[in-house]
Amino acid sequence: MTALSESGLILPRYRRDPEGTHPPLDSPGYKSTGLRHPKQPLVLLPHKLTEITGPLLGPGRLGELDNDLTKQHPEEPQGQRIIVHGRLLDGDGRPVPNSLVEIWQANAGGRYKHVWDNWPCPVDPHFDGVGRTITDNEGRYEFTTIKPGAYPWKNHDNAWRPAHIHFSVFGTAFTQRLVTQMYFPDDPLFSQDPIFNSVPDEKARNRMISRFDLSRTVPEWALAFEFDIVLRGREASVFENEEDE
């Protein structure tokens, strides 16, 4: 669980994720990676004080309606109302409590409220597509929003992004910082999406797909999807000869 560093401090260390968990930075199917991926090899960073600590961003970051994206304007947005909920966990299944979760998404037609997004789909004046919340003591979070639409993006001929919600989470350490995308079950657009498919390992890829959750639907009101986010866990044990350089 911990390691004695050269400085004599007892520090936890975080497990490195198995090969194939995360997309390679050089993923030619996603054209924008071409000029933006580093070509030099990454240098291994030992886990010391700056890596095992991280920003602990609490309730001060939240406005009252930040977790209900359908109530941020006087009128409700168009689209299928959904509840998106789940848990923020570390790699050992432990909940990460009191931790900031940020999301952003397109509207029901697949358009973002952003000046650069101008494909021919109407903006919804009643939808900003931005949410924030804090996990509770069991690491749970919940948003009310509308199901985002798919959108075209010109990466390849007739390219469409599967419907998704962008998620940003911190965990408790710099090593755990994660930005990902949540997808919806059985999306027929998965097969042609190089961003979804950039994750080499199929099981890892499928961890980005939310689960339809009948038990959390609200009768006469909203459908529900469950999406757990798992961050890196700590080393189970450390041997003398594995000490930091």
């Binding site: 994720d17 030099q40 910082r177 994660l178």
Partner: protein, 176 residues
């Protein structure tokens, strides 16, 4: 098993920036410096849809965090966040961190952007700390000819630290 990383995409500016994100410390704080720079792609073009995040110790080398075995030192946010402008520029107002046990003063940096399927991580070191930098184990693990990509330059109101994602003068990035 960890959830995979995905790109922030081009519309990160909707969800991630905060009004007070760039100010790790308030304007007027004694010792406050601006760390400014430009994020470039492999063609030398500024990246207008990126985000810089910083994480660092306070001026005494302490963190407000329970996992610091020296104890948490409350009150210092330590975290900065700034989206890049149309010209690829970012700026973070902060104080220079103190040294850490066995390490020269440094700031950890995460770079997010469209086209980055996973954040890339680098470190800012400070040019005045010649001796401490020479003894720093992380800098020592970096090929000597690339170390200067991790050392900020002095500027009028603080420091300049550019990020080159690819190619000539490519910034050193770390496997965290």
């Amino acid at each position: 098993m960890s959830t995979p990383s995905q790109t922030v995409g081009p519309y990160l500016a909707l969800g991630l920036p905060w009004a007070d994100g760039p100010t790790v410390v308030e304007e007027g704080t004694p010792g406050a410096v601006w760390i400014r720079g430009v994020v470039y792609d492999g063609a030398g073009t500024p990246v207008p849809d990126g985000l810089i995040e910083t994480w660092q110790a306070d001026a005494h080398g302490r963190f407000d965090h329970p996992d610091d075995p020296r104890g948490a030192q409350p009150g210092f946010r330590g975290f900065g966040r700034c989206p890049t402008t149309d010209d690829g520029e970012y700026g973070i107002l902060t104080v220079v961190p103190g040294a850490l046990p066995g390490e020269a003063p440094h700031i950890n940096v995460s770079v997010f952007a469209r086209g980055l399927l996973h954040r890339v991580v680098t470190r800012i070191y400070f040019p005045e700390n010649t001796a401490a930098n020479a003894a720093d184990p992380v800098l020592a693990a970096v090929p000597a000819e690339r170390r200067d990509t991790l050392v900020a330059r002095k500027s009028e109101d603080g420091y300049t630290f550019d990020v080159r994602l690819q190619g000539e003068g490519e910034t050193v990035f770390f496997d965290v």
